[in-house]
Symmetry: C2
Subunit: 342 residues, 2 copies
């Protein structure tokens, strides 16, 4: 595509991002490309429409950029890499002085992110399967119930109740814990499951505990795949003119509450630091008019989570991606992922 067409398309996108109104040829000629007349712009716009980058709501309205247009724009963006703005710096400052649980850090990051950008934000915790067990301990709760606490290398804690035989006292549980802990540390959950199967034969511990752990690890795997995705600040969605229609907004918001479907979206982040799903690319019908920008963060060795922002397709992608990249790097830094912050 000729350079001029690109510049015009860019101008249209910029203006549309700003105003959320169809952009006319005259606007472009006056505000963006003063050396060209509106008639010329009209011709080019007509071409761009034919190429599939623009759409016209009705015959005498301006043009509106397309998913295809944003995609072109974003792809260029992703290559050169956005640079942080002053606001980003502020956000970064605000947040660098906290150290705590993974859950808390990530959740409050999401909160801050949505408060700050006025978009809805999304957080996916790292998938638990990939985590390796650091320690494991049984804490007695009642005579027949114990809490199995598993600490993983990323500082993530998981726990579930397991039923234990009644004649095990605290000391016995501790002994079992130590033994299991020694043998299982460094393993992933998947490995634990198969290991335990063999193990059950030689059965040096309480068989009930073993089966408890078996059940737990299965349960944890299931839990790992669900639940660890949260959306916050979804009310920000309502601030956008494209969602002034209550019914539309309702549909989007309920789609955002359906974690399972969102999950599949976030999953597709095949190893890229930044990525964007534009409109229909999300694959979720209710989300054809909005985009999801995602950034990956890391915890420990190679465990990946994601944070993201959700807004109308008409997002200021450069800004949004810049902020996300910054925050995800800071997260990775704070959480001891292998990549350096900044």
């Amino acid at each position: 595509m000729e350079d001029r067409k690109k510049r015009i398309l860019q101008a249209i996108i910029d203006d549309y991002v700003l105003t959320a109104m169809p952009v006319g040829s005259r606007t472009i000629s006056r505000k963006y490309l003063m050396n060209l007349s509106s008639a010329t712009i009209r011709n080019e716009m007509s071409d761009l429409e034919e190429l599939g980058y623009l759409e016209q709501p009705h015959v005498s309205a301006g043009r509106v950029p397309n998913a295809k247009a944003y995609r072109l724009y974003v792809d260029a963006l992703l290559e050169e890499g956005p640079k942080p703005t002053r606001e980003d710096e502020e956000l970064r400052q605000k947040y660098l002085n906290r150290v705590s649980h993974l859950e808390d850090v990530v959740a409050s990051t999401a909160q801050a992110l949505s408060d700050f950008t006025h978009y809805a934000s999304l957080v996916m915790m790292p998938r638990q399967e990939q985590m390796r067990i650091a320690t494991l301990q049984l804490v007695p709760v009642t005579r027949a119930l114990a809490l199995l606490v598993i600490v993983t290398d990323g500082g993530v804690i998981r726990d579930t109740m397991v039923r234990v035989s009644e004649d095990l006292d605290a000391d016995a549980l501790y002994a079992i814990s130590r033994m299991l802990s020694e043998r299982l540390s460094g393993k992933t959950l998947k490995e634990v499951q198969s290991l335990l199967k063999d193990y059950a034969d030689h059965a040096p511990g309480d068989p009930q505990v073993l089966s408890g752990i078996m059940e737990l690890s299965g349960q944890m795997e299931k839990q790992a795949a669900a639940d660890n995705l949260t959306v916050s600040g979804s009310h920000n969605i309502l601030g956008f003119p494209e969602y002034h229609d209550a019914e539309k907004a309702r549909q989007l918001l309920s789609a955002l509450e359906d974690k399972d479907r969102l999950m599949s979206l976030v999953h597709g982040t095949g190893g890229l630091e930044l990525m964007v799903h534009i409109g229909p690319e999300t694959g979720i019908p209710e989300m054809t008019e909005c985009s999801v920008a995602l950034a990956e963060y890391r915890v420990g060795q190679g465990k990946r989570g994601a944070i993201g922002l959700i807004g109308p397709t008409r997002m200021p992608y450069a800004r949004v991606l810049g902020t996300l990249r910054l925050v995800s790097r800071a997260l990775t830094g704070v959480l001891g992922g292998e990549e350096d912050a900044e």
Copy 2:
């Protein structure tokens, strides 16, 4: 107030709950109280307006019931007690076969509640301060960090990282855990704090651990007051005609994300099983046009949490309260509170 006035007011409320439109005298005379003419109703309505139960959006619209009207209605309702409907039974069935962590049970209850009723739902976890410690255990995480797990009598688990001196190995930590556990079990968090102060003098354990626990219990108290309130299904709000205006909806939704303010609302449930805040009674400006119905549930001895539904003031209070009561009782049952389910 005369019985007839009450009946008319009731009819107005019923119709308004159904239609969300101002109710005229003719409607009442034809649909609800066929033995009275519209003129009579008009006279009564005029009286009711003077008494402060009704309002007129404009001179020739019908009447709209007031917070005061709903209050009268709900008070009567609370006395006689609503009865469960078929739908309630269905909800109850759906949910009786789960046993798990407090957090999970309560959260999924909230989810189910909002899905089912199509209102936004709210859950408050029991205040942690009131909880008594059952066991306490230190789980080593790294050389210098341990996870302090506190199990309370209600099966609620809290944990935080504490820094421990590097020359304590797992066994030493266990020994400390046992000792602390023995001395602290049965105490509330408040008590632990003051106890530890005295305790620090005789210092039989690692002083670092002690100060860690001190810090933690303070932290937990703070945490207890925040964070344990969640709202789900808020998208349902957008389904109501009174929130078809995007700006209004946005304000309400952001108010619902402000846990602190909501907290104060829920707190006022001074020991009643059911309660309702109608419109301005909520004390939250953004919520003058909606009501919050709350029901209490119990965990262990005397620890109280709350579940609730949030909708427009024009809620079908009888249904809503019935459902809430049912669910809260079931919750209390499942979670081993002292009151019996059903």
